[in-house]
């Protein structure tokens, strides 16, 4: 299994476990670069390096954050990116535990990024392949990014 396949499998499992059981994974696409609108993410460092991200329309991301956190939100505000980043941190951490246990690959995480004025990037990591993994919920599509 490739790291990307492992990442998707873990992602689907964690979305089911922590957000919503009714999801449909759309086909993964390869992009030229990380989309400009993707400003919430987290860098994986160590033996396996990657940049991960999440983006969606504001109302979709708000519903995603509400379902994940169980915190009632009337509309999109600054707490929404924070909650989406929290999911990424949780999911990425569990992915790294799986990677360590199954592949003996040791990596770590940097604190989440969520600056609305710039898209996600890592100063010392120039990604070769940018995977976009769209996941369909009843309330819309959330895109996940894995840039290796």
């Amino acid at each position: 299994m490739t790291k990307q396949s492992l990442y998707v499998a873990e992602l689907v499992f964690n979305l089911n476990r922590f957000v919503d059981e009714r999801i449909r994974s759309r086909p993964t696409t390869i992009l030229d670069r990380i989309p400009d609108q993707c400003f919430i993410g987290q860098t994986i460092t160590g033996d396996y390096q990657a940049i991960t991200g999440i983006y969606a329309e504001k109302d979709v991301l708000t519903t995603f954050a509400v379902k994940y956190s169980k915190i009632e939100l009337e509309k999109y505000d600054s707490i929404v990116p924070e909650l989406a980043a929290d999911f990424m941190n949780l999911h990425n951490g569990l992915f790294l535990v799986n990677l360590s246990d199954s592949e003996h690959i040791e990596s770590s995480l940097l604190p989440p990024m969520m600056d609305p004025d710039k898209n996600i990037s890592a100063p010392d990591h120039d990604p070769q392949t940018v995977y976009q993994m769209p996941v369909e919920f009843d309330f819309g599509v959330v895109n996940f990014i894995l840039a290796e």
Binding site: N89, L94, V97
Partner: protein
């Protein structure tokens, strides 16, 4: 010592993680809870006023939890630190123990895991 008398410090940059841990601790009877959101603030807070138990995240801005645990334990070798992290690999676990942590909870920590950690702090007494 019952849980209600414990002086607890929570250190996590995630507001949701802080909320979940705080809620879990309150259900168990804890009322004296202080929250900070990076490792340096935890060290400063601990040095200013010691705590019975510190729940520390690992991945945080400014100062990570491993470094914070090391500094807290250098200031107080009897500090009781529980690491709470999503990255519960064997490597991180070893680093945490080496830094002085007494316990390690994989996120998301369940109420039962929090209770068990507190029982370890109090030596098994919860009333």
């Amino acid at each position: 010592m019952g849980f209600e008398n414990l002086k607890v410090l929570i250190c996590d940059d995630s507001l949701l993680a802080r909320k979940n841990l705080r809620d879990g601790l309150k259900v168990l009877g804890c009322t004296n809870i202080t929250e900070v959101y990076d490792g340096k603030a935890a060290v400063d807070q601990y040095k200013g006023s010691s705590f019975d138990v510190v729940f520390l995240d690992i991945v945080m801005p400014v100062m990570d939890g491993i470094t914070a645990a090391r500094e807290i334990c250098a200031a107080d070798p009897n500090a009781y630190i529980v690491m709470v992290s999503s990255v519960g690999t064997q490597v991180h676990l070893r680093e945490a123990i080496k830094a002085g942590a007494r316990d390690f909870l994989q996120k998301p920590a369940t109420p039962e895991q929090i209770r068990t950690a507190l029982e370890h702090v109090t030596g098994g007494e919860d009333e």
